[in-house]
């Protein structure tokens, strides 16, 4: 399952008002590490679909969201619960490292 794209119009509904925890992947086309980590996120999304939603925000197309959440490096992953950021992970990491970072939301 590949993570679906969210934009400025759908962000509130898909992320802030989501019943589940949501991991938002801030990424861009031109970011090599973002592309490298993308299949790993897809795997995590599939394996933990019951606990965690994973969505992607293209920072080129959604600069307001990137600015609002003070993104200064990508890939940046922010976990939202009840509309609040509860966890930030920055940089592409191997799957076990990412799973360890996200343990509280996927196990």
């Amino acid at each position: 399952m590949s993570a679906r794209a969210v934009n400025e119009a759908t962000f509130e509904q898909e992320v802030l008002n989501n019943e589940k925890a949501v991991l938002v992947d801030f990424w861009a086309e031109w970011c090599g590490p973002c592309r490298a980590v993308s299949p790993i996120l897809d795997q995590i999304a599939t394996e933990h679909a019951d606990k965690l939603d994973i969505v992607k925000i293209n920072v080129d197309e959604n600069p307001q969201l990137a600015m609002k959440y003070q993104i200064t490096a990508i890939p940046a992953f922010k976990v939202f619960e009840k509309g609040e950021v509860v966890k930030t992970v920055i940089g592409a990491k191997p799957k076990p490292a990412l799973e360890a970072d996200l343990a509280a939301y996927i196990s």
Partner: protein, 324 residues
Amino acid sequence: MRDIIIIGSGPAGFTAAIYAARAELKPLLIASSVEIGGELMNTTEVENFPGFPEGIMGPDLMGKLQAQAERFGTEVVYDDVVSLDIDGPVKRVTLGNGETHEAAALIYATGSAYRKLGLPEEEVLSGHGLSWCATCDGFFFRQKTIAVVGGGDSAMEEATFLTRFADKVYVIHRRDSLKASKIMQQRAADNEKIEFVWNSEVAAIQGETAVTGVTLRDTVTGEERLLELDGLFVAIGNDPRTHLVHGKLDLTAEGTIWVDGRTSKTSLPGVFAAGDVIDPHYRQAITAAGSGTVAALDAEHYLAAQGNVHAAEALLENEFVSVD
């Protein structure tokens, strides 16, 4: 058991794979989980790789090398090596997913990793205004004031690239002259957004939750001063990635894997090394690719001596004579 495993997915690894695959050795290439393609994935335009007169984007070049390696039968695995057992005639490579692969020969081409400044605040501020990748993060510094630390080609490239976004880019360098190539130096010097800060090193990075500036120490007088910044990019060089072979392979005084003369032969039979992990000096995509070729041919020779028919035939085709 396989004939050959290649660890690394930069120009050295994929070029070794192209040769080994054409020799019908069906190489397994361990590409890593998130650093596939190596250092060129974080560059933009590559202008000095022969055969691309108009230049080529780093990620596109790596995509082509991978496609060429796969065309001849290279199998690519996207995982990280966690341990190696390479003393004996069978080389064992264990991956993050727990699988162990075996081969008669191993090519080690893991490249190098960004060098850090060595400051305690680096971990906290990393990703919060402190970056090692201008092409990834430069975008977020539109109309900001930032600095690049370093004096080599990569520092010049980053500084020049960052002027697309930032209003002002300082280049902080410990000496009063650069080691970057003439063309890269000139390009930076001609750019009116770039200002050089000579004889200065970063003594501390300022900022609680995001970078607000740096404390600079004058390398001549020892005087310290504050430079206010929105972001800091570090390009002070790379260190060879040898942690998996510490205590297994001989290293040089410079920290690279020792190889015998101009060959790729390491201190263990059947283990060959290529690319930046053996090269403290040149570190170019094309020298790494050449080095990957040497490793593949040395490995073919090693396998042929053990009776591997494909390797022996490939050597005849390449008119390769061992440099023993």
